[in-house]
């Protein structure tokens, strides 16, 4: 039996999820007595691929071509499906990232595979992989299994741990890619990167501001704390609707789903749609002047006070700590 893991990279750099997916796949492979193969697709990715070996993979397939520099739904889908067929892999793991979520269904149809999407836990019971995932905005957790011969799982980023072990001997095998113009019916021609802070979906720490921040001119308080912590800036929908910040930063049901180690909610009430996007954070801190705000129900620690008074002091205290 073979398991295939898809390691996401952009611009020649692995995403953290590449290591998380590889290691989660390795854990399952060990439990099933299966062989793990990791697939990397891109331009000039052969040189970075050995980094995956520290996460338990011994064979790495590399599909390398200048035309693969950017992601393409149709092309990556074809390569993934062909690699799975070639290897006769029956279990495929991908990240539930913007790339993985887009890629999985395209390959799934080619492989007649069911997908368990956005999994937050995996286990093996009587030889079957059981996936746990949140549904209904995190109000319910389901356990499910896939009944097709080929099974695909997308894993929510930042949930599965990736701990470097001793690197093993790894075999890197280049696979040939047969691409025609027709394969490029979708083609990425460029990427606009928001420079500066990390993205909310990838950050270890997020400092989020809500309507309680009173206006865009006060977000420098959020930004200062974020920069002190090397954190991303998040916002509630109320802030985006008011035009104070861009939608890219929005956390929640109509924004992004995040699971950082630390989430600091400032002047956010904790509406269910906001919580849907951040309840899997490991530690939640709330600063809100209303001690009855729902956000305190889900927070691990809170200060029931004024953000304008607390944020500057908090930034200074943390500076003292990290400055040490």
């Amino acid at each position: 039996m073979k398991i295939l893991a898809f390691a996401e990279q952009r611009e020649g750099k692995f995403k953290k999820s590449a290591f998380e997916v590889t290691q989660a796949a390795k854990t399952i492979a060990d439990q099933l007595g299966a062989e793990l193969v990791t697939l990397v697709i891109g331009d000039e990715v052969e040189s970075i691929s050995p980094a995956l070996s520290a996460y338990g993979v011994s064979r790495i397939l590399v599909a390398q071509d200048p035309r693969l520099h950017y992601y393409s739904t149709t092309v990556y889908g074809k390569i993934l499906a062909e690699a799975a067929l070639q290897e006769q892999a029956t279990v495929i793991f991908l990240p539930a990232s913007q790339m993985g979520k887009d890629l999985a269904p395209r390959a799934a149809v080619k492989l007649s595979a069911g997908i368990a999407a956005d999994c937050i836990a995996l286990s093996v019971e009587s030889g079957e992989i059981i996936a746990t995932r949140p549904v209904y905005a995190g109000k319910i957790l389901i356990k499910e299994k896939i009944n097709t011969p080929v099974k695909m799982f997308t894993l929510r980023p930042n949930i599965f741990t990736a701990v470097m072990k001793n690197s093993m001997q790894t075999k890197i095998e280049k696979i040939s890619v047969n691409l025609t113009d027709a394969d490029f019916s979708t083609k990425v021609t460029g990427v606009k990167i928001v420079e500066g802070r990390p993205d909310v979906t990838e950050a270890d720490i997020i400092v989020s501001g809500g309507r309680g921040m009173k206006g865009p001119e006060h977000f420098h308080l959020i930004e200062k704390l974020a920069d002190t912590l090397g954190a991303a800036v998040g916002v509630s929908r109320a802030v985006v609707d008011a035009g104070w910040r861009l939608h890219d930063e929005q956390v929640g049901q109509t924004g992004k789903t995040v699971s950082p180690t630390l989430y600091i909610a400032c002047g956010i009430s904790g509406a269910i749609q906001h919580v849907a996007g951040m309840s899997s954070s490991k530690c939640i801190v709330a600063i809100n002047k209303d001690k009855d705000a729902p956000v305190f129900q889900i927070a691990d620690y809170g200060i029931a006070g004024d953000v304008f008074e607390i944020l500057p002091v908090l930034t200074d205290e943390i500076k003292k700590l990290v400055g040490k």
């Binding site: 950017y70 739904t73 913007q98 790339m99 979520k101 887009d102 999985a104 269904p105 395209r106 799934a108 149809v109 595979a113 069911g114 997908i115 999407a117 956005d118 549904v135 209904y136 905005a137 995190g138 109000k139 319910i140 957790l141 389901i142 499910e144 896939i146 009944n147 019916s185 083609k187 990425v188 021609t189 990427v191 606009k192 990167i193 939608h247 890219d248 929005q250 109509t254 630390l262 269910i272 749609q273 849907a276 309840s279 939640i284 801190v285 001690k291 305190f296 129900q297 889900i298 620690y301 809170g302 200060i303 006070g305 008074e309 607390i310 002091v313 908090l314 205290e317 943390i318 700590l321």
Partner: protein, 248 residues
């Protein structure tokens, strides 16, 4: 130009969902259902495509009779025609997508619009599956789209930025918030929607591939510690984060 918007009928996000008696589906009684919020962006995009290029717009939904409410809302917003793939069974994304794709093949649209995700199961799979079943390209999580001759230039949201994607059509688009501002149904639209027909078709039988084994409420979190009410609590908060939670 033929434009189809695929729309879903889902529990209101405010709804207090509870696990039903079978332990595998939710208890639907006393829950308010709405048009999936993301699908409003798809409907609006369909209407704008028609306004610019002419043609016909169709709303398509697979589900029970209750999905008619949602189809009526699409008609009230200005969609020309509605089709209900009537089926009450519980389906997974694969089975929904297969049935939608079968119907869509008979309609041969130039554009098929979806929401980015259904807010119930949040699979974000149906659009990509439909596209692959139909053998056409797709762009997901789209926040901008422009038609230039035979090409469609889109921007899709990715981590920390946007990808600029060039695609050909027939094309599947899944809409993210930001693509447009969905219009409210006008009074005239609401009146007209009452007389517009909703065609009922029968989809192919269910072919679920994913099996829900159990459903449970997540362990409810203990409300946390309120450390204080003003900035004098900050040092203690930082200490707790550093020493107890070990997150900074």
């Amino acid at each position: 130009m033929k434009i189809v918007a695929c729309i879903n009928h889902v529990p209101d996000t405010e709804a207090k969902v509870k696990v039903g008696g079978d332990g595998k589906t939710i208890d639907k009684a006393s829950i308010n259902f709405i048009l999936n919020p993301y699908d409003e962006f798809g409907i609006e995009a369909a209407l704008q495509l028609k306004e610019k290029n002419g043609g016909e717009t169709v709303a398509l939904s697979l589900g029970g009779d209750t999905h008619k409410e949602t189809l009526r809302k699409a008609l009230a917003m200005g969609i020309d025609k509605a089709i209900l793939l009537k089926d009450d069974s519980v389906r997974d994304s694969f089975s929904v997508a297969k049935a939608l794709a079968d119907e869509l093949k008979t309609l041969s649209p130039d554009f098929i619009l979806f929401g980015k995700q259904s807010i119930d199961y949040s699979d974000e799979q149906v659009p990509g599956l439909v596209a692959e079943f139909m053998g056409i390209p797709s762009v997901s999580c789209v926040v901008k789209m422009n038609l230039q001759d035979k090409k469609v230039i889109c921007e899709r949201e990715i981590e920390g930025g946007h990808e600029i994607v060039e695609a050909t059509y027939p094309l599947v688009i899944s809409a993210q918030k930001g693509l447009n501002e969905p219009r409210y149904p006008s009074l005239k639209g609401i009146m007209a929607s009452k007389t517009k027909p909703i065609e009922e078709h029968k989809p192919a039988s269910v072919s679920n591939v994913v099996e829900v084994l159990s459903m449970q409420m997540p362990a409810s979190k203990q409300a946390g510690k309120i450390v204080g009410t003003d900035s004098s609590a900050v040092p203690e908060m930082v200490r707790l984060l550093h020493e107890e939670a070990k997150v900074i």
